[in-house]
């Protein structure tokens, strides 16, 4: 494995029904349809997702208009703002795995409503995996301030950064994540993101 990469087995993420319904686009104040097959879908999703992640730490520097992320450069102003006050960053990828995709496909064939719910479950699982990873990272860097996660495609950070991310984290080998020509990740319930590492005491700006 490449120097500096860290693998994390995140295990099974407990189902969070409230979050799942939110991902299925049912707001918390709305009535849950009586026959919505949520429990059935949870059963069908059981054991499918074992979240895994890989991460790496990089120095961060600002050079004129561009931001040197350690593994790539970008001129994204939104990311620059997000990383204000940070001298380093953590780059990570997390996936709920291929079996999750398979079960989504299967449920979608049986009924679109089940497909929707399985998508939502997959999303909750991988997001839950990211949360667990971030909690571990926060423990690992107790003296630092960690920003929220920021993904390629957010704001003006181009999706094309995915290629650099995949290369840097050796995603094919570490997590079995590959990119399509249109930069989609397979397995589909996968997330890549950047977390800024700043100084806890000052929280101040470096610029």
């Amino acid at each position: 494995m490449k120097e500096g990469l860290r693998l994390e087995e995140l295990g099974e993420i407990p189902f969070d029904r409230k979050e799942i319904l939110r991902y299925a686009m049912l707001p918390s104040f709305a009535e849950m349809p009586e026959e919505l097959p949520l429990e059935e879908c949870l059963k069908a999703a059981e054991g499918a997702a074992k979240c895994r992640a890989v991460w790496c730490r990089y120095p961060l520097s600002r050079e004129g208009k561009s931001l040197n992320l350690g593994f790539a450069r970008t001129e994204s102003r939104d990311l620059r703002k997000h990383l204000e006050g940070c001298g380093e960053l953590l780059l990570f990828a997390c996936t709920a795995g291929a079996e999750t995709d398979r079960r989504i496909a299967r449920a979608g064939l049986l009924s679109p409503a089940k497909g929707l719910l399985m998508h939502a479950i997959g999303a909750q699982q991988v997001e839950g995996g990211c949360d667990r990873l971030c909690a571990r990272l926060a423990e690992r860097f107790p003296d630092r301030r960690l920003t929220d996660r920021y993904s390629p495609g957010y704001g003006d950070l181009p999706l094309s950064l995915q290629r650099d991310v995949a290369e840097a984290l050796d995603l094919g080998r570490t997590l079995g994540i590959t990119l399509t020509d249109s930069l989609l990740m397979t397995p589909s319930k996968s997330v890549t993101a950047i977390i800024g590492l700043g100084d806890r005491e000052t929280g101040g700006r470096e610029e």
Binding site: M1, E34, E35, F71, A98, L116, A168, L184, P187, S188
Partner: protein
């Protein structure tokens, strides 16, 4: 000794890690290791040499990342040539007495194959074929496929190697901590597939340390009849002062591997974190050890991506329902390319306990070869049951065998010279278990002895191809008793005789016995029981039939194969007779509800109550109501009510979808009642739907499909990742006035624009609506679309507007 003899003898030593050593020599993060073959050939050769001098019999070229998916062909060629030269130089200069070999190293191509990913199987094969051809021309001794974590990709690479060189091929997969490949393969399913395709050695590398990989290696030793290899990491990576270090040293590493040699491990080396020191220690720890001889495994096994089914132990259910013979609905689905119908049949059979699925898509007017291959791939995306490929067309069989991810059942060969000549080469090349019918040029012998004689001839012929006995199952042919009173008896006699004399397993399609008689399942289930009692290995049957399934489950229970009768009790409690008793009082309520059922149906649809909607629709129809009337007065108003609620954000997506499904359930009842001539919905306006090329999201498109169908459109859904010409083809064929395209990502909008332009040019009668997360009204206009659906409901409105405007145009 030849290379293969050395492999079979063992211990045979491979090399160890490469990337780490290159990094120590100055390879920078982000720099491709294979580029060093050109820029630092001395350093690359020095690493190979160090491995030879540590005792490696074989080193693998520094070509892990070289693949046409990543580099141009000329670049691939340059890097592979340089890599082979580095290894040659090391072999020449190494101060080491053992026999020394060079393997062409082939890693994963970097893209996931269909159906989970975008890469077409044959495209993957072509890419690997290039690598193999270049490497072979450089004079390597063998091919080493390594670190692949997807069975389908491994299959593509192995097939490419087998088709493009005569060199031995060693195959090593990367397993996760759960003991499976990333895409679900298990050691036994992977070993069955790879051996079928002719791998010369199989095994595992990377991911974990030797102790953690040991259980996986043991499963390989259990399953494989070829030598097994292991190339573990030096334990797990740890962070020490910002550097990656592995937690197992050379001695411990070697001790852990050496423990597996007495169990049969004979080819060994290291992966990430290991160095020449590890190989030296490994050689020292295993010097003088002799792995036990490899025993050929005589089990008849079929496999899917991640599941193996053994035949000959417990009787196996082969689901027969994906076969258009006598099934009008399936025939129609096949003609229309309606895969969803076939996939649902598969899932229904799986849920009823089918263990293998027969797949036959032969019907007049379809391209059977293309359709069978497509069905195989789509089925394998949703079910993990092994498949029995059922076709009389050798070309269709070959196409399906190529893409089938696993070791298939091949249905069927028989004693005819022509058939054996066509099919045995395929069994030989792709692996599989052949079902052999005991008939030949002279037809079906009338006696058991006659059928046995054909079976023996078939076995003799198979042997000429090197096909092993365990990979043949015999079907002694079920004939109908209505035309010959002794037919069933002869079949059963033949079954017993063939089993005794050849030792091979047997298969029967049991349904045929009752052809032409009333209450066929009564006779069929009795015949099944008799066949099972005569030693039948697998029955091709309908698992959805309570009687047939009941006979199978009862047989298992009565022969001590059902702990505490659990399976039987589970089955019995699912029977409709028992359910009716349990549900008794509820039925009484039905009559009382009849009066209010109209309002009830509308309410049930609006509330998304599927069961109730179906029940109320049925009751209304039984009460003499007109189906069309129900649709117009009840279902459509309910859908409109919900649709408006959705548009004004009082109702949300899951609620909308449940209503759509409840409406669908009611429609199904009406359709059944009216014999398929449903309520004016058949012959609705054709709409072609697709997620555009490059995009693999389909949830939004599926929701649009459901709603459009609710509103009476005849939807042809082309699925996801659909190229523009395929959309055009469907629009032209159906002369569809409306086409809906979906794209989720900014990166796939260009493909959408291309499709819109093509449709406007070649099918000017068709109006195109688009939707998807990144699109806006403005964006839709920019790419030339005729309409934009903000959400599924809006898409329905746009389609309705198109139809209405067309009608108005037609009137003026």
């Amino acid at each position: 000794m030849t290379f293969l003899e050395l492999l079979r003898k063992g211990p045979f030593y491979l090399d160890g890690g490469f990337g780490t050593l290159l990094q120590r020599k100055g390879l920078k993060p982000g720099e491709a290791p294979e580029s060093w073959n050109l820029t630092h050939p001395e350093e690359v050769a020095a690493i190979h040499r160090a491995y030879y001098e540590a005792g490696s019999h074989m080193v693998a070229t520094n070509t892990f990342g070289v693949h046409p998916q990543r580099y141009s062909l000329p670049d691939c060629e340059k890097m592979i040539r340089a890599a082979a030269a580095c290894a040659e130089k090391a072999r020449r200069e190494a101060d080491a007495g053992q026999e020394k070999f060079i393997a062409l190293d082939v890693g994963p191509c970097g893209k996931l194959l269909k159906p989970l990913g975008p890469l077409d199987f044959e495209e993957a094969v072509r890419g690997f074929a290039e690598v193999v051809r270049i490497g072979t021309a450089c004079g390597v001794d063998c091919i080493f496929l390594e670190t692949m974590n997807d069975g389908a990709e491994t299959r593509a690479a192995l097939l490419a190697a087998k088709e493009n060189c005569n060199l031995p091929v060693l195959v090593s997969n990367a397993y996760g901590a759960d003991g499976k490949l990333m895409t679900g393969g298990t050691p036994s399913s992977v070993a069955a597939m790879l051996e079928g395709l002719g791998a010369d050695a199989v095994g595992v590398n990377c991911s974990l340390g030797p102790d953690a990989l040991a259980p996986i290696v043991e499963q390989y030793l259990e399953a494989a009849s070829v030598p097994v290899l292991m190339k573990p990491n030096a334990g797990l990576p740890r962070d020490r002062d910002g550097k990656t270090v592995y937690d197992i040293g050379p001695e411990e590493f070697s001790r852990q591997i050496a423990r597996l040699v007495p169990k049969g491990l004979r080819i060994m080396g290291g992966c990430c974190g290991t160095t020449p020191d590890y190989i030296r220690a490994l050689k020292a720890a295993t010097a003088g050890m002799k792995p036990p001889a490899i025993k050929p495994k005589d089990r008849t096994v079929v496999a899917s991506r991640g599941r193996t089914v053994e035949l000959g132990k417990d009787p196996v259910i082969i689901g027969e329902r994906i076969n258009p013979t006598g099934k009008k609905r399936l025939r129609k689905a096949l003609e229309e390319g309606d895969m969803a119908y076939i996939l649902n049949e598969a899932i229904a059979q799986e849920e009823r306990g089918a263990e293998v699925l027969d797949v036959n898509v032969g019907t007049p007017g379809v391209d059977e070869a293309a359709l069978l291959a497509q069905a195989v791939q789509e089925l394998q995306a949703v079910t993990d049951l092994p498949l029995q490929l059922d076709t009389a067309d050798p070309a269709a069989m070959e196409k399906a065998l190529r893409v089938y991810n696993g070791k298939a059942m091949i249905n069927s060969v028989n004693g005819k010279r022509e058939v054996m000549d066509a099919l045995f080469p395929l069994v030989r090349k792709y692996g599989g278990v052949a079902v052999a019918l005991t008939l030949d040029e002279n037809g079906i012998p009338a006696t058991a002895e006659g059928r046995l004689a054909i079976a023996e001839r078939i076995l003799a012929e198979a042997e000429k191809y090197g096909i092993r006995r365990k990979d043949i199952l015999f079907d002694p042919l079920t004939m109908t008793v209505s035309t010959d009173g002794l037919a069933a008896k002869v079949t059963l006699d033949a079954l017993r005789l063939i089993r005794e004399k050849t030792g091979c397993g047997t298969v029967l399609g049991v349904s045929n016995v009752s052809f032409g008689l009333p209450e066929r399942e009564v006779l069929g289930s009795a015949f099944l029981t008799m066949a099972l009692h005569s030693g039948l290995s697998a029955a091709i049957m309908n698992p959805l039939s309570d009687r047939m399934l009941g006979a199978m489950i009862s047989y298992r229970t009565l022969t001590g194969r059902d702990d505490n009768c659990g399976a039987y009790i589970g089955f019995a409690s699912s029977l409709p007779a028992l359910q009716a008793v349990a549900a008794g009082p509820a039925e009484g309520v039905r009559a009382a509800a009849a009066e209010t059922e109209e309002k009830g149906l509308r309410r049930a649809v609006a509330k998304g109550l599927c069961r109730e909607a179906a029940k109320l629709a049925r009751a209304a129809l039984e009460g003499g109501q007109d189906g069309m009337d129900l649709v117009q007065r009840e279902i459509i108003p309910a859908l409109d009510e919900v649709g408006q609620g959705f548009e004004s954000k009082r109702i949300f997506l899951p609620q909308l979808m449940m209503s759509a499904e409840a409406a669908e359930a009611a429609f199904r009842e009406i359709k059944e009642k009216t014999g398929g001539q449903a309520e004016g919905r058949e012959g609705g306006t054709p709409v072609v739907l697709a997620t555009v090329k490059g995009d693999i999201h389909d949830i939004g498109k599926n929701i649009v499909r459901l709603l459009l169908e609710n509103y009476g459109f005849a939807v042809t859904d082309l699925g996801k990742d659909v190229p523009p010409d395929k959309v055009l083809e469907a629009v032209e064929r159906l002369r569809a006035p409306v086409c809906g395209l979906s794209a989720l990502m900014t990166t796939t909008v260009p493909a959408m624009a291309e499709t819109v332009a093509l449709l406007h040019e070649r099918a000017p009668w068709c109006r195109v609506m688009v939707g998807g997360a990144v699109l806006t009204e403005e964006y839709a206009r920019q790419i030339g679309a005729d309409g934009y659906g903000r959400d599924a409901m809006a898409a329905v409105r746009v389609a309705e507007r198109f139809v209405q405007e067309n009608a108005e145009k037609g009137n003026t």
